[in-house]
Subunit: 231 residues, 2 copies
């Protein structure tokens, strides 16, 4: 079982890499002592909305999706998390339960850190707290963009956003193979699965993207950006 270590190159240490380089050795030891490592198969649920928020996690292998769920079981896929990123539920310091459902979209390993120890450690580390505030503000910005997009964009714009998100922020390549189903792509875009299939075909017919099965390639990024912009 690997232990958290400080990032050698701390200039890269934005919240998306290793938050924990802002801890002292002593604090790291505390965290590492209580730490658990859990393996998940594709499809398995790590956290369920409404459940108790007892741990924060760090994804060390694979990929998970963070989903909103309403009363009628309808989902929005909010974010994909990959190594090495943390998931600190927004119930932290509020109601101490989960507001999102987190599940593995491929075989995944996650490190669990007891929230009581986490809280104790960080409450004495202002530098870490400031970084955590950065992390939360990034999410607030991302969520507010999402709200604006959902409110005003049509299906094509939403699907363009989804493809750009996957290429730019998740797979960091305009060609990528994904474990996400058409239903998942629909859930990111907040449209139906049938619509997502239709629009992807349209984009393919127009030569904007290509795909077979799970392998996608963005051919005309300009067009995609334009569609995203115009809604």
């Amino acid at each position: 079982m690997t232990h958290f270590v400080k990032d050698q190159d701390c200039t890269k240490c934005d919240l998306k890499s290793n938050l924990f380089c802002f801890l002292t050795d002593n604090q790291l030891d505390n965290i590492n002592e209580s730490r658990l490592e859990v393996n998940y198969k594709k499809g398995e649920v790590l956290f369920k909305k409404g459940g108790p928020l007892t741990h924060i996690i760090c994804i060390s292998k694979g990929m998970v999706k963070i989903c909103l769920e309403n009363n009628n079981g309808k989902q929005v896929l909010l974010e994909l998390i990959k190594p090495v990123e943390f998931i600190i539920g927004p119930g932290f310091l509020i109601d101490e339960h989960h507001h999102f459902t987190v599940s593995a979209i491929e075989d995944t390993r996650a490190c669990f850190i007891d929230i009581r120890i986490f809280k104790e450690v960080i409450s004495k580390n202002s530098e870490f707290l400031m970084e955590l505030i950065k992390y939360l503000n990034k999410h607030i910005i991302r969520h507010s963009d999402k709200i604006s997009n959902l409110a005003h964009k049509h299906m094509h714009g939403k699907m363009a956003d989804t493809l750009l998100y996957l290429a730019d922020e998740v797979y960091h390549s305009d060609t990528f193979e994904t474990f996400l189903s058409r239903q998942d792509l629909a859930n990111i875009s907040a449209i139906t699965k049938e619509s997502s299939i239709r629009i992807l075909k349209e984009f393919k017919d127009d030569g904007i993207i290509d795909f077979n099965n799970m392998r996608f390639e963005i051919l005309k990024k300009d067009s995609l950006l334009q569609i995203s912009k115009n809604g």
Copy 2:
């Protein structure tokens, strides 16, 4: 010009009231020295999206709306802020510019606190930072609810949400008089102004609410909750 003082009854000190009761006297003095007080007329803009984030503010009189704006000028009204609440833009510690447009919906007084002083003061106060994290997490929860609602609810459900938000969280009464226009109500609900007018009339015809002009009364809250729930 009034100065910030510690809340006498600190049990009420959640982030919605006076964040600043978590500061030491010394820190409060620092803040108060640099503090500016500005008066706005109804309709005037306090912060514009894209502008530099040089201050955080505290609303001490009146009410402001926090709006998202997209490239085409379309807006979503995200939140209403009233005394005594703070507005700490999510660009804080990130890109140091505004992501929301904030404007007065009635005559308003706001206190401006220099972000450099704010940052310096809070960076040495873990207790305050923990409260700030609470404040941010509350917003993340609120925003994620909004995303879920926008993604899945129909107009009626969205408008029901809006009326419930105003009654329960803004005016704290099922009867309230508001400065919000039908366009504002539409912008909270993320529907068009015509639709907002139509649905309000429907609710009125069904005896769920009553209103003339700006004065609203919720008559059947159960129905409204049901409509909100079913989408």
